[in-house]
């Protein structure tokens, strides 16, 4: 149920929180893929990672947005 982020009397868009969370999740996924050595099995890794980031972002907005 995060609609706004208030910091020091300033009001920010909740995307300020959602973006780092999605980035962190994408980074964790990338780390896990490297550790499991599945990284080479993926076609067009850059496309995959960017798309995964967008999916994580949508998921974060959906869950934390209270929808």
């Amino acid at each position: 149920m995060l609609h706004v982020v208030v910091f020091g009397g300033l009001e920010f868009s909740p995307l300020v929180i959602y973006f780092p969370i999605a980035f962190l999740l994408a980074a964790l996924t990338r780390f896990a893929l490297h550790r499991l050595d599945w990284h080479d099995r993926i076609w067009r890794v850059a496309w995959f990672e960017v798309s995964l980031f967008v999916c994580y972002l949508a998921l974060t907005v959906y869950l934390l947005g209270g929808r």
Binding site: H3, W43, R44, V54, A58, V61, G65
Partner: protein, 286 residues
């Protein structure tokens, strides 16, 4: 086979990202919500109806008052004197009228004895009517003087809280000049400034969830009105009343903000609202 699986996995994730990105975009850009909301209230400004020194100030800043409570008094002496003068004037006019009436009645009796001309009698009758009109005028003037005297006591027009009280005992107040305001009790509402692109998604009686910048439990309410006009900042009139239209050469045009009023549902006792607070508003989708 493994190669196709690799490709399929990436393609699936890309397609999912397209749909997810589209959903996020729509959620932000095409949902009826705004962060540009303000708590508002009905403000009643208080101005004395007569001029004079403030002799008695019964209120303090932010004090709660009930409708009809005495707020302050303006010096009565001048208005009391004016009233006394009007009263005496009324009595004078009354006696003048009675005298004229008495003369007319006596002259009416004289006419039967042929001791007075018809013209004198008519003159007497008109004098009586003039005296009566003078009396009516004096009564009206006395009523005005009484009203001015009564208006030296300024009472609360509504129940609410006093705001911005800079008035002090001894200050001179002018007729019709506002001296402070009252925030009417239970009159709080929310105005959300929605982008014009979102207005088609806003409907009357639509449920609203209002989140204050101060946090706390969200408030609820429903849409009661959608603004039908806003000012055009791009156009002014010159001395000849011709429109002066500013030239625009913008690549980006900002959407206008349309005010939408939201009536709040009954509030919890502990909710602290002040007119002017910032609020985020989400309307339910239809």
């Amino acid at each position: 086979m493994a190669k196709y699986l690799r490709i399929l996995l990436t393609v699936l994730v890309v397609v999912a990202a397209i749909f997810a990105g589209r959903w996020v975009w729509n959620d932000y850009m095409h949902s009826p919500w705004t962060r540009d909301g303000r708590i508002r209230a009905d403000i009643v400004t208080v101005a004395p109806d007569v001029s004079g020194w403030v002799t008695n100030l019964n209120i303090t800043n932010d004090q709660a008052v009930k409708e009809g409570d005495l707020l302050f008094s303006v010096d009565q002496k001048r208005y009391q004197a004016a009233f006394n003068q009007s009263k005496a004037n009324t009595e004078n006019a009354l006696y003048s009228w009675q005298l004229a009436k008495h003369k007319y009645e006596r002259r009416t009796a004289l006419l039967s004895q042929k001791a007075i001309s018809a013209e004198d009698l008519e003159s007497s009758r008109i004098s009586t009517e003039i005296a009566k009109a003078n009396y009516d005028l004096a009564v009206a003037q006395q009523a005005t003087a009484q009203l001015n005297l009564d208006r030296t006591q300024v009472h609360a027009p509504v129940s609410g809280h006093i705001i911005n009280l800079n008035l002090r005992q001894g200050n001179y107040v002018g007729q019709g000049a506002s001296v402070f305001a009252i925030v009417q009790s239970d009159s709080f509402y929310v105005t959300g400034y929605f982008e014009e692109t979102k207005i088609p998604l806003v409907h009357l009686n639509q449920q609203a969830k209002i989140t204050l910048l101060s946090g706390g439990k969200p408030l609820t309410g429903h849409v009661v009105s959608i603004g039908k006009a806003i000012a055009n900042t791009n156009t002014q009139s010159n001395g000849q009343l011709l429109p002066q239209v500013q030239q625009t050469f913008n690549w980006v045009r900002l959407s206008q903000r349309i005010p939408v009023d939201i009536k709040l549902d009954p509030l919890a006792e502990e909710t602290q609202l002040s007119a002017g607070m910032t609020a985020t508003i989400h309307l339910t989708k239809r």
